[in-house]
């Protein structure tokens, strides 16, 4: 088994470290934050991710994983050092590489034996060439250091599972030696490995995420058109899904993508293209569609209601998707300020994201309205005039159409995740606006009540 150091204990680094220890390697995770290191030693994960704490506790007990702020000791005799630090987006859409540069410098000054540096962070194409040059420029000892690219494909909310059961592992190397080291490290995972050159590996990461973002924007565009011409986007998606060339996944219409990957990686690749004098038209269009889509529910509701002033507004779900406490680029962050500006009294529920959301929008009066955080969906819905569904949490999906009908003062629901069946909402007497489907109007509800055969169209 190999000795591995991991730089950075964010999503990417910590999950990678825990999984490498799980398959038997000896892992040391390095972070500059002493408190964070202490917490992790106690088996507590700084991020919410299913199955992660279990792996941390089990492998810490077995002595296969440890945490430290002492990078020098961690790096000096490592067979491989994985870099999983952040590459946040800068104002112009390009990636900020200062964290990577800092780690690269530390590595150069610490390593005492031949070592492969593996960059897991998403970096612009060509960056790893520079990282290798940079490390070799600052190298203190006479050892061999090469840089490989090993982009990360985990999805937040299922990061551990995605790593241990990945569809493929991409490794990008420029020498047989580097390729062999990485193949050896990943052998115990027993997963398909695609071995390519370094720049292609870097490109694969961006191209994957950008294509998925494009797929989401495409279906959202189709959904909006479906609404206008009276087709049902869920039926359309079902009809498309049988075609293997299209695939049955990622065809759900909604209120746009968020999170730390799709928004960042689309803008980054567009930026890389620009720097090379190329205009990436499809990706640019995907970004534009997403921007519009994120405020779709607010726009729909504004058309339906004269004002939000003095209305109790239930908000179900705040995070950008279920299974995570991450709020980055979440549609809720766009819609809530607009609602507050219009005087809404918001009662928000999210199973794990409320705390983070309260950091941006503290409880109490804000703008012309106010925001209150509640601990379940029922509390939010009680006597509400209007409800917004932003995230399809299991706890939100568990709310039945009847509950909206019974709990709300006026059962008016704007659902950005197409959770409910149109007929069931009509039967429950709920005016229901979703994405890419017909609206269940007051007239539909009356008709449903008057007719033996309900018809939500």
């Amino acid at each position: 088994m190999h000795k591995i150091a991991v730089a950075g204990t964010g999503y990417v680094g910590l999950v990678a470290g825990a999984c490498f220890s799980e398959v038997g390697h000896n892992v040391t995770c390095v972070d500059i934050d002493e408190n964070k290191v202490k917490t992790m030693k106690q088996g507590i994960s700084p991020i919410y991710e299913e199955g992660l704490e279990e792996l941390m506790q089990k492998n810490y007990a077995a002595g296969r994983i440890d945490y430290t702020t002492d990078y020098q000791t961690a790096y000096k005799d490592a067979d491989a050092i994985f870099i999983g630090v952040g590459t946040p987006e800068q104002a112009d859409g390009s990636a900020n590489l200062s964290y990577i540069a800092t780690v690269a410098r530390q590595i150069a000054e610490s390593v005492e034996k031949d070592c492969l540096v593996v960059v897991k962070s998403t970096v612009p194409v060509g960056t790893n060439d520079k990282v290798e040059q940079f490390i070799n420029d600052f190298l203190v000892n006479d050892v061999r250091v090469e840089v490989a690219s090993n982009p990360e494909f985990l999805a937040q909310g299922s990061a551990v599972k995605d790593t241990l059961q990945a569809e493929r592992i991409i490794i990008g190397t420029e020498s047989k030696w580097a390729e062999d080291v990485l193949l050896g490290l990943y052998e115990p995972f027993n997963l398909p490995i695609v071995s390519v050159n370094r720049r292609s590996a870097e490109m694969i990461k961006y191209a994957s995420n950008d294509f998925l973002a494009l797929k989401i924007s495409y279906m959202n565009d189709i959904a909006n058109l479906c609404e206008l011409i009276g087709a049902d986007v869920q039926d359309v998606a079902r009809g498309m899904s049988f075609d293997d060339r299209i695939g049955s996944k990622f065809l759900n219409a909604g209120i746009g993508y968020g999170g730390s990957c799709f928004p960042k990686d689309t803008k980054a690749l567009e930026n890389i293209a620009k720097q090379n004098g190329y205009e990436l038209k499809t990706v640019k269009a995907a970004i534009d569609v997403n921007k519009e889509q994120k405020t779709l529910l607010y726009k729909k509701a504004s058309k339906r209601l004269i004002t939000f002033n003095g209305l109790k507004v239930a908000v179900l779900g705040l995070t950008f998707k279920p299974g995570t406490d991450d709020l980055r680029e979440a549609p809720s962050l766009e819609n809530v300020p607009l609602l507050l500006e219009q005087g809404a009294d918001i009662y928000a529920y999210d199973p794990v994201g409320a705390e983070n959301f309260a950091k941006v929008h503290p409880e109490g009066p804000k703008a012309k309205g106010s925001i209150t955080y509640v601990s379940n969906a029922e509390q939010a819905l009680k006597d509400a005039h209007v409800c917004f569904v932003f995230t399809e949490w299991g706890e939100v999906k568990a709310v039945t159409p009847e509950q909206y009908g019974e709990l709300m003062r006026t059962p008016l629901v704007f659902d950005g995740r197409n959770i409910y069946d149109l007929q069931e909402m009509a039967i429950a007497g709920v005016e229901y606006h979703s994405v890419g489907r017909n609206t269940v109007t007051k007239e539909d509800i009356k008709e449903t009540k008057n007719h033996a055969v309900p018809n939500a169209r």
Partner: protein, 436 residues
Amino acid sequence: MKIAVIGTGYVGLVTGVTLSEIGHQVTCVDVDKEKVNTLNKGVSPIYEEGLTELLEKNLERGTLTFTADYDEGMLGKDIIYLTVGTPQGKDGSADLTYIDKACDSIAASLQQNAIIVTKSTVPVGTNSYIKSRFEEKLSSNIKVKIVSNPEFLRQGSAVYDTFNGDRIVIGSDNTEALETIAEVNAPFNLPIVKTDLRSAEMIKYAANAFLATKISFINEIANLSEQVGANVDLVADGIGMDKRIGRAFLNAGAGFGGSCFPKDTNALISIGKEVDYTMPLLESVIKVNDKQRSIIADKVIANYADLSGKKIAVLGLAFKPNTDDMRDAPSIQITERLIEQGANLYAYDPVAIENAKKVLSGQVEYCSNIESALQNADMAIILTEWQEIKDFPLSAYKQYMKKPVLFDGRNCFTIEQINGSGIEYHSIGRPVEKAN
């Protein structure tokens, strides 16, 4: 079931032949008498694998007939399939002239109630329009029900696709008609998606435009890969293993053509326009494709200061392999531009030459095999990935050509295959390989 099929183009002929093959009694109606005579002799006017065999077989056993007479065609039929063409109008919208004519002719001859099944790709809402047109033209005692049943066959494997399709989509606002058409299709033994009329119409457009989007996306990634030194083949392999993406339709190349993707993508944009919805994403897909289609010409021109008098071998003309279809083929623009630059073109295609002669400039010389096209050429360009072209030995390029320079618009070869072949190789989204 007794079925009439209106129109004997790609869709109509394949529909008629396959419906008769699964046991229905089918009469195909086409106003072109000469075509009807040829078809009754068992000769197919289109090249499509397996079609002639099934045509002959079902003519012989009497389950399939062709007629130019609507009265005869409509006699006693329960179901009438509409398969006539819906060409792209000037503004990108679908031209419904043929649909109108077919509806009127049916209405004039039909003596009993029937189900009308629209297989033609028609804009969303057209089936409602067809229904109202029938209501207007039919005598009051005869009623029709409308079903949308978009076809998803691919040219080149249309017969195979009909029997092995991913799904059959049937849409109707009438449950009884929906069930009847599901029953008609049951012997194909494929998954059936039942939905309403408008959603069925939409599925066809949304599916085709998505595939077009996938192609334009990978072509953009290819162009960017060239700039940054990545290899688009490896990139496609890497992202294609993600099931949410899929490897199919990730082959970079000289853009999409044919009768479906450009037409359906444009039609979807124009459907949006009619309801005041702009679709910048699809517009970008079209823009990328328009540029991509001439990228091989761009590359040739960028690499040669002067093309006048240069002999260029053109390998492949059809818009894709296994078809003689030249509609919207990239070869049309590319040959035009190269001729403009003074190049002499020697073209080879296994089956599309006859059709190419109708649409390409008269200055193109046609060759009967790859070797004669390559003979003494200054460079060769591959525009269609025919198996025959992919199988042609790389060593032969050096043997026949004046200079072995190959511009491959379809990435027919891997860089490893090219290495050491002595060919200067330009492809899409991959580094240029020099001859030595």
